[in-house]
Amino acid sequence: MSNKRPETKLVPVPSVNKIPERDVDKSPILEAQHLGIDFGGLTAVNEFNMAIGRTEIAGLIGPNGAGKTTVFNLLTKVYQPTRGTILLDGLDTAGKTTAQVNRMGIARTFQNIRLFDNLSVEDNVKIGMHNTIHSGMLSSVLRLPSYWREEKIAHQRALELLSLFDMQDLANAKAGSLPYGAQRRLEIVRALGTNPSLLLLDEPAAGMNPSETAELMENIVKIRDTFQIAILLIEHDMSLVMGICEGICVLNFGQIIAKGTPTEIQNNPEVIKAYLGNGKEV
């Protein structure tokens, strides 16, 4: 599989946002409008507008403390936004909880890995598939046929998902005992288990070496192609962001300072200033 993509053209949707050209006849999977949150007197994120196409890989970058993870926490309702609207597949997520938003189709990974350390790798994935398995408490306590049927399907599906990352041999290992890279991959598999339409990856390449990062890039593209879902990722590794993201959003001090394709972002004076400063102050 190659990472080469045809040059993407971003086209505007009816709001102030842009999505890739191929997704334009469908509504965006996610649209954030005028999103903002205040912690006491501090405005952490303000006027965040972003649309993501149905099969887009989008990037969210910015210097440390710009508010990238806060945006993720807003989208997944870990924080309730102070202002603005989040439309997921055209549905307003106002007043929903994290679990409800996940059932609507947003899955995420965490910057500091949050696995279920004491459980096996397979159980971690099965927990991700929680809402796709339907056996209730009664059928599991009585071990009714429906329990065995659902467990068998879950087992096969979990191994299938793990095989995406060649992790099926680790299915019985304890999640907490996995090496760092495998834990990051397991988090992605667990998120995929929830059957999302939008996957949020918070620094998926953190702590990885260049060859692992290259493999991860291939895998992210593979996930998008296999599941036909949208992916939004926060990343500091510019080779990854510029290599696979179609649309990039640059955040600084809680404000969007630039949006566009990788080429546009690379040449944007505002972005260069945010990352490197403007020579005059020195």
Partner: protein
Amino acid sequence: MKQYFKTMKTATKVDYATYAGVVLAFVIVMLCQSMGLLSRSITGMLVPICCYICMSLSLNLTVGVLGELSLGHAGFMSVGAFTGIITSMCLSASVSSELVRIVLSLVVGTIFAAVVGLVVGIPVLRLRGDYLAIVTLAFGEIIKDIINCLLVGWDERGLHIALNFDGTKSIDSLGLSENGIEIIKGAQGASGNDRIATFVVGFVLVMITLIVVLNLVRSRTGRAVMAIRDNRIAAESVGINVTKYKLIAFVTSAALAGAAGALFGLNYSSVSAAQFDFNTSILVLVYVVLGGLGNMWGSIIATVVLYVLPEALRQFSDYRMLVYAIVLILVMLATHNPILRSFFTRLFRREKEDGSAVRAVKGGGSHE
């Protein structure tokens, strides 16, 4: 068959071994009893041991699997015991079969304890932090005080219940007819009960509790509960309704404690609320902690050993509890000793190595 056994997961093997162990213990005890090898004091301990095994298994569901501390488990036992006694006494005239009566009493005790667990759990389990410990601690005391002022009687007109909060009422104020039965007499508790609990019923209850707990843990529901224990935020992020699953685990735990309580109540001719105090809750917690959090067979063994131990130590007379405490400390030191642990790990490794690709890949990283 052999192939099937090989492909089974370690957890499943442990489950089956636990069932087999309990059945084996039951068979041995029954054989000894039929041959007359058991003394009266041991025979008298059989049913309470079954009750306490159910208690520690159910508490292990809250403390070990859900990861929330409950300090009022005896409160649920108490609810089960007294509702069970009331049911059994009310039915004593109309239902002649003791087995039917005891089953009905256990069911009623279970239901009432579950309802009380739901009432306690709904507000508390929405909170994050150690609030459950505080609230269950208070709950245990409140239940004790309420039952201390409870007056219950039964006659042809039905059940009479009065609460003696101001100390002015007595059992006579219920106005029972001549052949009415006085069931609960305030602080005296319930006395003159039929002792209909048997060891066989106790064994069946232990098996049911074990099956419910183990099957729950190895299911979708149990995985969700353990996910909440391990990482609440991640559990929410994969769409698990945290309050719902905390409540399921806690109410199941309370219901099983209610069943254990009902059996306990039906084993004694006289039961008072003071028996189900904070010390009882802590006693069960000690069984669970020493047996290992989340480890069901550990709970069973710890319960049996620690229940029998004080009796076995009678020869030390006054120093009995002192020796008991020393034994507890020694067990704790032994189970947390890294040298002993690694010894046991080495002992069991050979069995674990076969057919597990994990070890080959991981180079021996994970031990359970």
